[in-house]
Amino acid sequence: MKLYIRYNINTTSKLLLQEQLDKLGLTCELTGLGELEVKNGISAEQHNQLSVVLKKYGIEILDDRISALVQKTKDTIIEMLYLEEKLPPSKISFYLAQKLNYSFGYISNLFSEVTFISIENFIIIQKIERVKQLIIADELTFTQISSKLNYSSSAHLSWQFKKITGLTPTAFQRIIKRRREKNGSDTGKII
């Protein structure tokens, strides 16, 4: 028996953080994506302890401003793709600049330096990732998916999907279905 679950990674992370902070007796406020305001300061020892506990959950305290900003950029892009009911009609560059409060040129330069990929390509990869999830969830048609993610048509979506993955959306859907059938009795895999 295999159960398919969907989870909101944002809520999970926030709850987890809060729990761990409470344990260490730290009063903090989550000021936004990936930022934590520590009310009464934090000792080196507490900082260390926090690092160790959080690392177990794949959460890392970023020490330098640049990796923090790049991480924030990634989170903003992902949040936009997953939480917004429909992508904002304005250009993504504009959206990011507004959310992050830096010029897009600045963000974009830093981003490619640190991640070895341009922001544009990162967004495309993430968008296709989102498309894959929506295809697997099997609740929306290709046309609905393409409009949700601001593609001009389902043909454009198929073309970009093929360009990134080497497969058509239909072939992808078939492969995942067959994989699941093959793994039929497996448990513990989370999609």
């Binding site: 990869i125 497969l167 895999k189 999609i191």
Partner: protein, 148 residues
């Protein structure tokens, strides 16, 4: 998240192919450590030893003596401790059927071996780069498929 380098393992019985692969990877911007083994038996030996550094990405040649790529793929995917491992099939055949079969069996990437070094470099750069994104941005590897 902080990741310093990507660890890549290649299983290929052809000495020249192993060499080309190493040269191509050396020129990439992303820091990559390459380990090579000569066939499937050596590969499974390497993976089973806990003292060896676990690779992030394994390239499997399909036709190898003793144990072929498909057999390795099945063995690896039957072992839950390798769930995090990305697998790239590295083959001379580019038939649609082979490609789909490999994906169904759990491969993430299917590479049709190119004939010249320039294309090899380009393809490997793309594969390593996208794998790096999966590695550093917490993307869901279960949906990771790339045919190139």
């Amino acid at each position: 998240m902080q990741h310093d380098c990507l660890h890549v393992l290649l299983a290929d019985d052809d000495k020249d192919d192993r060499l080309f692969f190493k040269y191509a990877i050396e020129e990439l911007k992303i820091q990559t450590v390459v380990t090579t083994v000569n066939d499937g038996v050596e590969l499974m030996d390497y993976l089973s030893k806990t003292e060896n550094q676990k690779p992030d990405l394994v390239f499997l040649d399909l036709n190898m003596p003793r144990k072929g790529g498909m057999e390795c793929l099945k063995e690896i995917r039957n072992n839950k401790s390798f769930n995090d491992l990305s697998i790239a099939i590295y083959s001379t055949s580019g038939s649609e059927k082979d490609i789909e079969e490999s994906f169904v069996l759990g491969a993430n990437i299917y590479i049709t071996k190119p004939n010249d070094f320039t294309s090899l470099k380009k393809i490997l750069a793309e594969v390593i780069n996208i794998n790096w994104q999966y590695h550093t941005s917490g993307l869901n590897k279960e949906n990771f498929v790339l045919s190139i």
